[in-house]
Symmetry: C2
Subunit: 206 residues, 2 copies
DNA sequence: GAGTTACAGTGACTTTTGTTACAGATGGTT
DNA sequence: AACCATCTGTAACAAAAGTCACTGTAACTC
């Protein structure tokens, strides 16, 4: 496990080592499901390499992307879910090959007592996720698909540090909670406007 | 201040008294703004009587209802915002005549140290708000207006413990993030179906 | 290189929601 | 009663998104 990637805790070598000590690392391939809806939560994940996307799923199977979890961050839903013995309301999927450090729930209480910076980490993360969720509400409620699509492409490019993405229109449609034809239509329109370049399994931002 | 309404803390008379001691109470009339977007937060509000609605506002002035805060609950956004010296990302309005106990930010840290149940209260609340936000995302992304409208009416009736609401179509439209005519249209349709009964400034669920 | 599968492009149509514009109704005020 | 502001009903239209059906095409398998 690369301790250095726990950058949030750079102020406390002690906590960093403690986390590495009580946690166990696990790797996931791109696209692999890390957490399913309604699964019980027994450990809190901290991403150390790669990234995770967190999706909300409708009863009818429709999905929508909520946010990405980057290295040094944790899935905060699972945190509270874990503490209150709840099941997960969201689904987590590896966006790329990803390494995760799992901290068992029963050890988390102790950490809060012994390491104030751990509590601060959790609060900060909660705050961030909350604001991201507000942004999602905003986007879904008030923005049109073309704008949301462009936004998604930009976020993905930033995450991958690349202007070219390996995605199908179907995948994009899923993350936006819409249909494949809609995405194809909009992408084509964007290509005509010179905003993107399209290929099979490929979208490049210009 | 009615200490009994701090029902979340019924397990700890001590904490309840402490909160009443360091906080200051304030009342708001129905419709009064309690917190504006981008306002700095200097105290954490706990609702003791009445209820608050929390709205998200778009740059273009469009709004959408996020959730209600009922007696014994706090606006959790302001909690984190307050701790991190942030400005509020949401707007809070009194849904009815409301009494609020404000806890100054600088005292909050001490409470966490001294009263474990205070931290638990905060976590629990965060969790609840998070799930409510997820529901909003779900509704806005996947539900049609008629269903969302019916849902809103039901929530409002529950809050007011009444089947008849004093609202204009305009107000409902604002909370749903849509236009008045849309609400009028849908309400009329619902009346034809025998779901509601309409009057001036009045909607009754059947 | 023939076959197969997944992916992308496109047209035609429907549904839902947003927009504009205006008429009528309601309830309070003078 | 006449007036006024506010609220509600409705029609007609536009825009956005969803749905269906089908074609072409790239990449992979055998």
């Amino acid at each position: 496990m690369e301790l250095n990637t726990l950058s949030e805790f750079k102020s406390s070598k002690e906590l960093r080592e403690k986390l590495a000590d009580i946690g166990f690392a696990k790797t996931f391939d791109e696209g692999e499901t890390i957490l399913n809806e309604n699964a019980y939560i027994k450990a809190i994940p901290i991403v150390t390499k790669g990234s995770i996307k967190v999706m909300r799923t409708d009863e009818d199977g429709r999905e929508i992307l909520l946010y990405y979890i980057k290295p040094g961050e944790s899935c905060i839903m699972s945190f509270l879910g874990g503490i209150h013995q709840d099941t997960s309301k969201v689904k987590a999927i590896a966006e790329e090959d990803t390494e995760i450090l799992f901290i068992p729930i029963d050890k988390v209480g102790l950490l809060i007592k012994d390491y104030p910076e751990w509590l601060d980490f959790i609060f900060r993360l909660y705050h961030k996720r909350f604001e991201e969720l507000l942004e999602v509400v905003n986007a879904v409620a008030f923005k049109k698909m073309d704008e949301r699509l462009l936004n998604l492409l930009q976020k993905k490019c930033e995450l991958m540090s690349s202007n070219t993405l390996s995605v199908t229109h179907e995948q994009l449609a899923n993350e936006l909670g819409t249909a494949r034809v809609v995405v194809s239509r909009l992408l084509k329109h964007m290509e005509d406007q010179g905003l993107v370049k399209l290929g099979r399994n490929k979208v490049s931002l210009i």
